[in-house]
């Protein structure tokens, strides 16, 4: 039987000013009916360019396919006319995207957006169309389709929107579904549901799925076959068991090795002095309006914790759990509504800014987004020395300290004169760590500090964080949504949901014997749980 999608020797060129000549170079693989093929790679690997080129949706000003062919059921898409490709989209192949938040037109009801697919490709009457749309919505297990038909995207959750997109792509029963990181923007529990939905629909309809992801956990859960890409080339492909179990290429080995294990290493209890504590910390957003119509959201509700020097406390939760709110309250980037935040012996929760400033040096933060955390107009040196100079350290001394810190975080001290745009994401996170350390703090907060990084870089930055914690005897508050990362670095863990701490304990205990139902569902939903953790479990 011939494959549904057969990519042969495909090469797509980049414009001249790019850092390499080809986005993808001489790649060949196929997708058969009834099969899920995962294309996996880090950022810049060319995995998304591959999927968009198949759909004919690549940026035609920048990307030009220069060699090879893309055969969809034997027809070469690269030679097809625009009209033909438009017909193939939806009828034969369909695509779901990474961002369910933005993939749907915000000003049209979702039912109509699914119906548009039928409007374009069929001549069904309005009522038949609607019936089919409702059926498609039921197929993806959306509650109350009749009502939801008239909803607008912003009224639905991320998972519901992704279901709408899936219903839309599958309403015409295409033979090929392309899914480009369809669960990356979703919370872990929602991700698990969407993955099982895709698998269910694929099995029921026997279509081929081309699934793009960066996450080996997802690969383990869903793939039949795996294609590993690096810098626009395929380094390895094969059945999932073979690639995950006995990877042949060193790059694949490195990627798989970098996936943090869900089994926490043994850790001794830390008994250092308490550096940071929060007592009955509350943060409410919004306020009662003049006419009693305002809405109050409890972003953090009676949160209590202590962090000792030399210890890492993890705050784990999905989006909207309030974990970042806690971090920002503790930093006093926002003002807590009530409660105490003790740094050493001082309650900083209600201090005025001028009284607070002397205490700022004791608590520092590393943010999630490496591209926005450094002022693009200032040199790395200026950024690192800004804080110490504020506290009366002389320029020369601050610079000397910055130089020392640069080598500690693994960067060349000469790079202090450079600007942030000359560094990669991982390097910038290192700079941010150096900037925080320059203040000689007691407490370091890492707010999703490794979440935006590729898995290989992530592992290095995690190691660095652990090293500096030990070297400088820091109390670390580690905010993350990623259980694997939390398992590796945290001594104790606090699980939050909707502003409330639902579970709290030593990492090993929380992972091996979760008390709260929510924690259990989080653990169960972690992708690749069955594959990556069985040998140690």
């Amino acid at each position: 039987m011939s494959p549904i999608l057969d990519i042969r020797g495909l090469t797509v060129s980049l414009p001249k000013q790019a850092d390499r000549p080809y986005a993808i170079k001489d790649i060949s693989f196929s997708v058969n009916a009834g099969e899920i093929v995962c294309v996996v790679g880090e950022s810049g690997s060319g995995k998304s360019v591959t999927s968009f080129t198949v759909m004919g949706l690549h940026d035609k000003r920048a990307l030009t396919p220069v060699a090879g062919e893309i055969l969809l059921q034997g027809d070469n898409i690269l030679n097809a006319s625009d009209a033909k490709i438009r017909r193939l989209r939806g009828e034969k192949m369909a695509m779901i995207f990474q961002e369910p938040m933005t993939a749907l037109n915000p000003v049209a009801p979702v039912g109509e957006q699914i119906g548009e697919m039928l409007e374009i490709h069929t001549s069904l009457s309005g009522s038949r169309r609607k019936a089919k749309v409702l059926q498609a919505m039921r197929d993806v297990h959306l509650p109350d389709p009749e009502k939801m038909y008239h909803s607008y995207p912003h009224q639905l959750s991320g998972g519901q929107r992704q279901r709408i997109v899936i219903a839309m792509s599958l309403v015409l029963e295409p033979v090929l579904l392309i899914a480009d990181e369809p669960t990356t923007a979703l919370d872990v529990t929602t991700q698990a549901q969407i993955l099982s939905l895709i698998k269910e629909l694929q099995e029921r309809r026997g279509m081929g799925v081309l699934f793009i992801t960066h996450d080996f956990g997802v690969v383990a859960d869903i793939a039949d076959r795996v294609v590993v890409m690096q810098n626009g080339e395929i380094v390895e492909q094969g059945p999932v068991d073979q690639v995950l179990g006995a990877p042949g290429h060193p790059y694949t080995k490195m990627l798989i090795g970098a996936v943090p294990s869900m089994t926490p290493p043994d850790r001794a209890e830390v008994t250092g002095e308490t550096a940071l504590s929060a007592t009955h910390l509350n943060k409410q957003y919004g306020h009662k309006g003049m006419f009693g119509r305002g809405r109050v959201v409890d972003a953090a509700n009676d949160v209590n914790f202590i962090v000792r020097r030399g210890e890492t406390l993890g705050i784990v939760g999905e989006s909207g759990s309030g974990k970042s709110t806690v971090a920002r309250c503790v930093m006093r980037l926002i003002d807590p509504s009530s409660g105490e935040v003790m740094i050493g012996d001082t309650d900083i929760a209600t201090l005025r800014e001028d009284k607070l400033r002397p205490h700022r040096r004791d608590i520092q933060i590393v943010f999630q987004d490496p591209y926005r955390s450094l002022n693009p107009r200032r040199t790395v040196g200026q950024s690192i020395t800004e804080g110490p100079v504020n506290f009366g350290v002389s320029q020369a001394e601050a610079l000397e300290r910055a130089r020392r810190l640069m080598s500690i975080v693994g960067l060349a001290p000469e790079a202090l004169d450079r600007f942030p745009h000359q560094f990669s994401g991982g390097q910038r996170q290192r700079i941010c760590i150096a900037r925080a350390l320059a203040m000689e703090p007691m407490v370091l907060i890492a707010d999703e500090a490794v979440s935006a990084l590729d898995v290989s870089v992530q592992a290095q930055v995690l190691d660095l964080l652990e090293d500096v914690r030990d070297e400088f005897d820091l109390a670390m508050l580690f905010i993350t949504h990623d259980l694997r990362v939390a398992a590796q670095i945290c001594d104790r863990i606090m699980v939050m949901r909707k502003g409330v701490v639902v579970e709290n304990g030593p990492t090993a205990e929380v992972f091996s014997n979760p008390q709260h139902e929510y924690t259990r569902s989080l653990l169960a939903a972690a992708p690749g749980h069955g594959v990556f953790d069985k040998e140690t479990a």
């Binding site: 955390s373 693009p376 504020n390 693994g410």
Partner: protein, 290 residues
């Protein structure tokens, strides 16, 4: 093992605003045209006659023997008057741009950064914006007497709200940036944060806005003159020349067309520079402006 930053393909520092700007074709050609006009304005006296000298025997003469652009109803040389008007127009344009940007920048920074000032400043700006600029200027000038200074003041006031809004929106965006929060966490004082991290982000959009303000100020000045509510009529500004040319328009249209064309070309040059700057300096903010 120490990693170094990506090597030298990018310049060590980010190129300066002006370097980027001059690489843009519109900025270059528009700017060149503007420089020429400015030179004409400055050195106009060298190659023109007295713009207010009356010549009763050569009235309303067409372009040709009695001057390149002809003469007006008092026999004054239109060419000399138009060249002279360039100086006034450019002065008004530049002055209004500088003053309104300076005031707007200050108010915008305050409104954007200090929550408690925001509502007050913005309501006042909303109020100012809802008063039609030309009417406001007419009223101000007719009350306080027509001088160059009152004309400039009257044009500045309605331009301020737009600058304030622009600056405020930049400040509101920038203050959410993690690098500003990092500076707060590093104990940097508020005024230093404004100076170091916020202000530089307003420069590019403000340069662009300044060109637009300059262009629109020159138009407003001419309109006020044309309506007889601008600079005193004895001063040969473009608006005033055209205002006087109205009476004999059907007979001697060139008295309006020459200064009109001069004004249009000057404003066009300014606007082309503005568009070019907008495209090259800040493509993202640029789109939503104006």
């Amino acid at each position: 093992m120490a990693e170094t930053a990506t090597p030298a393909s990018q310049a060590a520092a980010q190129p300066s605003v002006w370097r980027i700007a001059l690489r843009n074709r519109s900025v270059f050609w528009g700017g060149l045209l503007l420089v020429i006009i400015a030179l004409i304005a400055v050195f106009g006296a060298v190659f023109t006659v007295d713009p207010i000298a009356i010549n009763p025997i050569a009235r309303l003469k067409p372009p040709g023997d009695f001057g390149l652009f002809g003469t007006d109803q008092l026999g004054r040389d239109v060419f000399s008057r138009v060249v002279n008007g360039a100086r006034i127009s450019l002065t008004v344009g530049a002055a209004v741009a500088v003053i309104s940007i300076a005031i707007g920048l200050f108010l915008g920074l305050v409104a954007g950064y200090f929550r408690y000032m925001d509502a007050v400043i913005m309501r006042v700006m909303d109020g100012l914006m809802s008063i039609p600029a030309i009417l406001l200027a007419i009223a101000l000038i007719s009350l306080s007497g027509a001088t160059l200074l009152t004309v400039i003041t009257a044009i500045v006031i309605p331009e301020i709200p737009r600058v304030v809004r622009l600056v405020r929106s930049v400040v509101l965006t920038v203050r959410e940036e993690p690098y500003v929060e990092a500076a707060i966490a590093a104990g940097t004082r508020t005024w230093l944060i404004m100076l170091r991290h916020v202000l530089p982000n307003t420069i590019a959009p403000l340069i662009v806005q300044a060109t637009y303000v300059c262009g629109s100020a020159m138009l407003t000045e001419a309109i006020l003159g044309f309506l007889g509510a601008g600079i005193p009529p004895e001063i040969p500004s473009w608006g005033n020349i055209m205002s006087e040319g109205r009476t004999f328009f059907q007979l001697t249209p060139w008295i309006i067309f020459f200064p009109g064309a001069a004004l249009a070309v000057t404003v066009l040059a300014v606007n082309i520079v503005g568009d070019g700057l907008r495209d090259s300096l800040d493509p993202r903010i640029a789109r939503t402006m104006r």
